[in-house]
Amino acid sequence: MNKKIVLVSVPRLDPAPQANLRFLLKKLQDANIDSEIFDANLDLYKRYSDLPSWADIERWGIQQQDRQNTSNELWQELEKSFSLWAEQIINLHPTHVGICVFTGESRNWTQWLCYHIRKANPDIVIVLGGKGINKPGRPNADFGEYCLSWNLCDYYFNGESELELVNFLQDRPCIVNNPDTFVSFNDLDLSDFVYYSNDEYQLTSKWYDQPINVQDKLLKTYSTRGCVKKCTFCDVPLLRSNWSMRSPQNLFDEIRFAIEEHNVRSIAFTDEMINGSNKQFLAWLELLANYLEKNNIQDFQWESQFGLKSKQSIPTRTFDLLDRTGAALTIGIDHFSNAVLDHMEKRYKQDDIFWFFENANKPKITYKILMFIVGYPTETLADFEIFKNGIVELFQYQPQIQAWDFGQTCSIPFGSKLSKLENIELGAQQVDWYYHNNPTLTKEERLNRLSIIDQLSQEHQLNLTRAKATSLRVESWTQQ
């Protein structure tokens, strides 16, 4: 019997087709494996995002509420979705269903979708993959093991599954149901184009929650994987130790194709750090800038996570190229105190931050999100004062800044450098910790500092990204 796999994107993600699933689809199709994508995430947005019940639906996923704590009304709506999706997936006649558990917030959605698929057709092989398989910040595949135990899935991939899923479906040796080790491939070829249909391009624009200026069509893709930095609070280095980038020419070719064939004017990169290599990054920007100017394309914009560096490490021509190509950057600035920045191992100082903003003050450079950490373990009151002053200093660039993110106070992923700090005591959740060397920074004090920043944000009418979701998380961990 020929195999066919349906790849499923489960809520809750940004409302756009997932580049990673597209990449996986291409790998499968190149290997002549019958495959297609079913996007339950987008379907949920389409049906509910404008309704009053949307907030409850969000809360259900984010807080991973069990059925006991779910109202009957909401449960009926959710069950309707699960049954419908299961039916639609089964109607595609797959032998296998591959569910992408993108984050921990996708777990509740995944387990109930698995249940409904199983109930409707127990012969379909269910395979799970994605970062939500793991305990956040750890390599242990606790959710994979949980689903396997309850027979909600048959297999799970712990780590990057692009190569392994192809091997698995071709009955070749591969690593499945491996609870302890996150598998990553340093030599993964990232060069395949991510093809969307015209309809999907339109969808991305329609449903993207914070559209960048150009409202036309959006290509969601990626140029890099991993991060060159090893910040103490981050889980990216735990899961993927190296950084890799597509060749500048290959990346440019994909974008040119999207512009010429689909009239795309916006690119959203899912990268963790697009500028890990100045040489490759600038080479790509040069190609793009020259192309846009030669073809007189004015209304173009791209967005990505961008790594701030010291002024010695950012060539000055970077700013000109960012401006010429219409960059909308998401930057984890994190703090303004040099003592805290040093401890974080950010490899830049306060001066470098202000130098960057001064030089990037150009008409077509914007900031999609600026991210900060309130209540880092070593943060003293004096550091916090510096932090507040730094925020105020950035107000002058407010016209360029689309959103600010102050998180939920510092969280410490298990296994990160911070979690191994001497005299740090970790709780069950990443935000639940106590650092004995900084005894006044209690949980209450961290929340107090966050509320001071919230107040500052309100006074200056800052646009906070996903503020509702963040406050939900804070609500969730303060109730314990």
């Binding site: 127990p122 750890r138 609870p179 069950a428 959740q429």
Partner: protein, 146 residues
Amino acid sequence: VDPTIKLTISLTGYSGRAWPEIKILVQDQVIWDRPVENQQIIHHEFSPSDNNSIQIVHHNKNNDTVVDANNNIVQDRHCLINYIKLNELVFDLDSFSRYNYPFVAEDNESIITNYLGKNGTFYFNFEYPFWKLWYNLQQRSVDSKI
């Protein structure tokens, strides 16, 4: 007819100056309340409902840890949950953080562990539909072999 759940819990007690006293509640009913001396296997049958909750409570921990002259711990009162079994469905908890079932200590600290070293409650809750699905698939597999 809903299938009866045959519950098996394996515990190992370690004594300080006394054995750990453990109370087990299934669907809020106490099914066991006594010291766990060395290894104990506890059996219980119950009908599943919407609220399928198993709680394992350690409640007599005090400061009776035995230390040597160098302050090294020689004996410490605690209890390990080795596994929880529902019919043939085994949750091997003796592998650190394999699952996501929490132990909530009296001071409200919540840890993913099978090591009950403080007073507190280990929670193992499960959704009834998942149990029923598992059971039906198990039966299907048995039937197909017959």
